[in-house]
Amino acid sequence: MLFNFATALVFLIFGGLFVLLNLGISRILQARNPHPVKISTYECGELPEGESWIQFNIRFYVVALVFLIFEVEIIFLFPWALVFKDLGLFAFVEMMIFVFILLVGLAYVWAKGDLDWDKPQSVPAPELSQSYEQKEVTETVDS
């Protein structure tokens, strides 16, 4: 058992080392032309505006919350699934009660609309102004 986990750990470390090694190689090979514009924050060529702070929607939190609760449920479901073959009906009923209680929670957040993200409202397409349309047409003809 220790051998298996040690192997996994070595793999994790080697993955990191692989990136480090290549970063080192890259450091030797790469061209370096530092320029203040290069290291400014990228905003599609515009000058960066404001701080990179966005008021995130609280729904991100609710999704993470529902995920966490179900993740915890899953850590009980896995050992249950291992012994399910042997224990049969009894274990099945127990687990169904467990799952049902948690599905009530899912039903709650579902009914309260916590899982609905804001849908884009279907706005009728704005009428194109006459002059704009004409300009488009003439430009195409010209080119």
């Binding site: 298996n4 986990f5 192997t7 996994a8 793999f11 993955g15 692989f18 849908k119």
Partner: protein, 351 residues
């Protein structure tokens, strides 16, 4: 792997003189190096395949020039180019975390390769809770993504990272529940044992067992992993029309390549796990025919690349979904159906 080491230690080679601990360390490191290379090469193959398949789907030819035959060296040349590129770190970025995030993401991806069975004896770490380990270690990738987005100190990076994290965690639940169906049927979390019950031909594959519930579970698993690897039609975190390149907007050079390699390695990992759980893993679909030694590696690769091909095919067929549709798919379609599959299999097994 363990047996191999013991045989070598007991054999009449020069290796027999070394203590077992040293042998273990040598072999684990060797395996790690080999699989790191395999992982990188697989990512390159995956990128090449994506380009070629997408090109043919769109009725063009894709890269044709580099390396002669159908541009097969194109991705290798791209990798070389990425090594030569300047590594730009934004002035406002958190330098330490900016550096650390790609390492974490690639390391976590490679760590999942340790337990993947490429054949009856070709598995580095035959862990008894292998599949749970994969689920656990994959969550490090999410953390790496959030850290990368935050460390870049860029609006789009952060928004992309949050989107990516929310998406991955939402789809992790249906994926885990679909995997659970297999564990119920086999009674083991060891990937090797899961394959062992499927040896003997295509009719023994677990996807056909408990029809139609395992098939349903496979479909759920496939869709969920599609979203977990940020593939189209669920590639919102990288929706270039909305948020530039998502969480790796501020990454360049090899740090960016690390994310890219990790993404394709993840695709491959997901394909191998899907093939192992549902499609017989390394076993041949024709019973004993071509089921020995190296053929096992061929079969697992063929199945995994088959799944990757379907992923690419879907990417170039379907348009991107909206965020609300994404959440709808995960919580209101896949999760309830995954529970239906579990309950259905439970009934099958009791009756």
């Amino acid at each position: 792997m363990r047996e191999l080491i013991t045989t070598l230690a007991n054999g009449q080679t020069f290796l027999a003189n070394l203590p077992e601990v040293v042998l273990n360390i040598i072999f684990i490191s060797l395996g790690a190096v080999v699989l790191t290379t395999v992982c990188a090469v697989l990512a390159l193959v995956g990128v090449y395949m994506e380009r070629k398949v997408s090109a043919h789907i769109q009725d063009r030819v894709g890269p044709m020039y580099v390396g002669g035959f159908h541009g097969w060296l194109q991705t290798a040349a791209d990798a070389l180019k990425l090594l030569l590129k300047e590594d730009i770190v934004p002035a406002l970025a958190d330098k330490k975390l900016h550096f650390f995030a790609p390492i974490l993401v690639f390391g976590a991806t490679l760590a999942t390769f340790a337990v993947l069975p490429f054949g009856r004896h070709y598995v580095m770490s035959d862990m008894n809770i292998g599949i749970l380990y994969i689920l656990a270690i994959s969550s490090l990738v999410v953390i790496g993504t959030i850290l990368a987005g935050w460390a870049s100190n860029n609006k789009w990076s952060l928004l992309g990272a949050m989107r990516s994290a929310a998406q991955v965690v939402s789809f992790e639940i249906p994926a885990s529940l679909a995997i659970l169906v297999i564990i119920m049927a086999v009674g083991s979390m060891n990937l090797g044992e899961i394959v062992n019950v499927q040896v003997g031909g295509i009719h023994k594959w677990l996807i056909w067992k408990f029809f139609p519930f395992n098939l349903l579970a496979f479909i759920i698993y496939f869709i969920a992993t599609l979203a977990e690897t940020n593939r189209a039609p669920f590639d919102l975190p990288e929706a270039e029309s909305e948020i530039v390149a998502g969480f790796h907007t501020e990454y360049s050079g090899f740090k960016w390549a690390a994310f890219f390699l990790a993404e394709y390695a993840n695709m491959f990992m997901v394909g191998v796990v899907g093939a192992t759980l549902f499609l017989g893993g390394w076993s041949s679909p024709f019973g004993d025919f071509m089921n020995s030694g190296p053929f096992q590696i061929f079969w697992i690769f063929a199945k995994a690349f088959g799944l990757i091909f379907v992923q690419i095919w879907i990417r170039w067929t379907l348009p991107r979904v909206r965020v609300d549709q994404l959440m709808y798919t995960s919580w209101k379609v896949l999760t309830p159906f995954a529970f239906v599959a579990i309950i259905g299999v439970g009934f099958y097994m009791i009756l």
